[in-house]
Symmetry: C2
Subunit: 339 residues, 2 copies
DNA sequence: CTGAAAGCGCTTACAG
DNA sequence: CTGAAAGCGCTTACAG
C-alpha cells in the first residue's frame, strides 16, 4: 500500500503535523528533525495524496490549458512549455478544448467556460488566442476567482499575459526585405479575428513608410492563415503584370508562405531568383518547403512555459506580471537580393 | 461560495446520502425524490468537489496520456480523441511527456514512469508507441495497479490496446500501385524501433509476392520517418538508371513521401507522370504537398477516443478489450497509371 | 427506499 | 520548536 503521512510520522517518531511542516518547507522545525523526517519519507517512497491535500487546502495543483480551435503546431508548443513549468512546481496540466465555433454570443462563451471549470477545480488557467480576448470568458474567470494568464492577447488588460512583439518582428522582417533591394513587397494578411494580424500588418506598413516608399493597396491581400487562402492570395499578387508584380511576398504565417512558394512554382517563377518569400512562425513546414523559408521564430514554447510558471508561483512573488519574449528572424533560402 | 452536497441536502430536505445516490445514479431512490433532488442541484449549480470525492473513493477522475518523443501530429489527434472521451465520462486528461531519450535501461524507464505516477494519482493511463512496447513501463503500471490501454503496440499482450492493421493497409496500398500498372515499386522503410515499420513493410512484401513479382532489395531503402531520411532514401532510388528506376515509390509515412516529391522535382521528374508517390498517415502535409499525396488515413483520433473510453468505463462493462479500427486509402493526385 | 456515523489523508488554526 | 483536535466534502459500510 502507498505510504501515508501517518506512516511517516509513526516511523519518524513525530507528529503528523511535523511531517507536514517538513514536506511543505514550512519554518519552525529543528534542522535535525527536518533531516530525519525527509530521510524516512524518502525511504517509504512517500508522496502526498493530492486529493487529500486538495480537500484540505482547496487547491488542486492543476492548471488548465483552455483553447478553442487553435493551430496544432501552436498549441503543441504552448502545451509542452506549460507542462514543463508545471512539473517543476509539482503541478499538472489538464487540457480543455472548448468547442466554440458556433457559439457567437457572450453568454454561450461564458457558459462553455463555466461548464468546464465547474467540474474541474483548477488553480489557474492559460488562455490562448482568440479566447484570451473574449471579455465574456475573462469575466467568468474573474467571477470564479480563478487566476489566468493570457498568451499573446490583442490588448493588454488587467490580466497578466505573455506575448511577443509581433509588430516589431514584422517591421524587422520587412526591413530585411528592403535591405535586399526589394521595393515592391507584397503582403498577405492573416485571419481577421486574430490579434497578430493587425500587428504584423502594422509592422509591415511602418517599415515600408520609413523607407520612404508608399504602401500600395494592390500589394496587400487578405488571407486567413490557411494554406488555401495563401494560394488564392498569391495568385492575385503573381498575376500582376511584369514590372508591377511584387519581387517579394511577406506572408503573415508559414502556411500561407508555403502556398506562395507552391503557386510561384506552378506559375514558373523561381524562388528566390524571381521572387523572394518569407513567412512568420517558424513552424516545421518552414524547413520542409523548398527552398526553406526565411521566417520569424516565435517563442511559443517559452510563452507556454512562462504562462504556467506565473500561475504556479502566483501570489507569493509577483515578480513579473506581463512580459514580451524575444523573437528571432530566421534567415533561410527563400529570400535573395534583387539582382 | 460554491454549493456543497450539504447545501443541496438541506434545501431538498433529504440526507446527504440521498443526494449522493441521486448524483451517482445509484438505485434505491424514489423517482419523486430523484427528480426533486436533481432540480435543486441544478438550481444551486451544484457540482461535486472532485478532491473530496477522490479522497473518499480513491479515484481521481483523471486519465493520463503518457508519451515519449512522438510526432506532434500523431499525439495531437490521440490527445483530442482522448479528451473527448474523457469529457463524456466526467473525466479529465492530464498530459505527461516522459523524457526518455537517454534512458536506455529498463530501470531508468520504470523509474521515470514511477516518478510521474507517484505524484499524480490517475485512474488510467494511455500509452503510445514506443512506450507501449516497453516491458519495464508495463510492469511498473501493473505493480501500481493502474489500468492502461496501449495505442498501436507492437505485440498484442495482456494489456488491452487499440490499433489499426498496418500490414493490411500497406498491402492494399501496394495493390493499388500494382493495379495502376506499376511493377518496379520502391519502398522506404520507417524507423527501426517502431512497430509500424515492420508491419508496413510486410504488407508491401506480400502484395508484391502475391502479384507474382519478386521483392528486389535494390528497391527497399531504410528511412526513419523523418523528412531528411526521405530525402536521402529517395536519392538512392531515383539515381538508379533508366529502365531500372522505380516507377512508383511507397514511403512508410507522409513526411518521407513529401521528401520523395521534393527530390523528384529537383531531379527533373514529374510527379505523377514520371513517378508515382504514396505515403502513409494522412497528416496535413499530405494535402500541402503538390501534387497532393495518395496515402493511408489512420484512425488516430478514434484510437485516442477508444483508448480513453475503455479506461473510463473499465471494470463495469468489459465489452471490448482490444480492437483494430478501420483505416482508409485516400486517393489523391500523386499516383497515376503507367502510360 | 432512506439516513446517521465513520473515515479517506491531508492542513489550518490553536495551544503549549 | 512541536502536537492534538477539528474539518475540508464526499462515500462506504451498516442500520432501519
Amino acid at each position: 500500500m502507498k505510504a501515508t503521512i501517518t506512516d511517516v510520522a509513526k516511523k519518524a517518531g513525530v507528529s503528523m503535523k511535523t511531517v507536514s511542516r517538513v514536506l511543505n518547507n514550512e519554518p519552525n522545525v529543528a534542522d535535525k528533525t527536518r533531516v530525519h523526517v525527509k530521510a524516512i519519507a524518502r525511504e517509504l517512497r512517500y508522496s502526498p495524496n493530492l486529493a487529500a491535500r486538495g480537500l484540505a487546502t482547496s487547491k488542486s495543483y492543476l492548471i488548465a490549458l483552455i483553447y478553442d480551435n487553435p493551430s496544432i503546431n501552436y498549441i503543441s508548443h504552448i502545451q509542452r512549455g506549460a507542462i514543463d513549468a508545471c512539473r517543476e512546481a509539482g503541478y499538472h496540466l489538464v487540457v480543455e478544448p472548448l468547442y466554440l465555433e458556433k457559439a457567437i454570443s457572450r453568454e454561450e462563451k461564458a457558459d462553455a467556460m463555466l461548464s468546464v471549470l465547474e467540474k474541474l477545480p483548477v488553480d489557474g488557467v492559460i488562455l490562448t488566442p482568440p479566447l484570451c480576448d473574449s471579455q465574456a470568458v475573462l469575466q467568468t474567470l474573474d467571477d470564479l476567482r480563478i487566476d489566468c494568464v493570457r498568451v499573446a492577447p490583442k490588448k493588454k488588460g488587467e490580466q497578466p499575459f505573455v506575448g511577443m512583439d509581433d509588430e516589431t518582428a514584422a517591421f524587422q522582417m520587412t526591413q530585411h526585405l528592403l535591405k535586399q533591394g526589394h521595393e515592391r513587397i507584397g503582403f498577405i494578411k492573416g485571419h481577421v479575428n486574430h490579434a497578430a494580424t493587425d500587428l504584423r500588418y502594422a509592422g509591415y506598413v511602418s517599415a515600408i513608410s520609413e523607407a520612404g516608399l508608399k504602401v500600395s493597396s494592390t500589394f496587400v491581400v487578405q488571407g486567413d492563415f490557411s494554406f488555401e487562402s495563401g494560394v488564392i492570395a498569391s495568385r492575385i499578387l503573381l498575376e500582376l503584370p511584369d514590372g508591377v508584380r511584387p519581387t517579394a511576398i511577406f506572408a503573415s504565417n508559414d502556411d500561407m508562405a508555403a502556398a506562395v512558394v507552391s503557386v510561384a512554382g506552378q506559375m514558373g517563377f523561381d524562388v528566390p531568383c524571381d521572387l523572394s518569400v518569407c513567412g512568420f512562425d517558424d513552424t516545421p513546414i518552414a524547413r520542409i518547403v523548398s527552398p526553406a523559408l526565411t521566417t520569424v521564430r516565435q517563442p511559443i514554447y517559452k510563452m507556454g512555459y512562462q504562462a504556467a510558471k506565473q500561475l504556479t508561483q502566483s501570489s507569493n512573488d509577483q515578480t513579473q506580471i506581463s512580459q514580451f519574449l524575444d523573437f528571432e528572424i530566421m534567415i533561410r533560402a527563400s529570400v535573395s537580393a534583387i539582382a
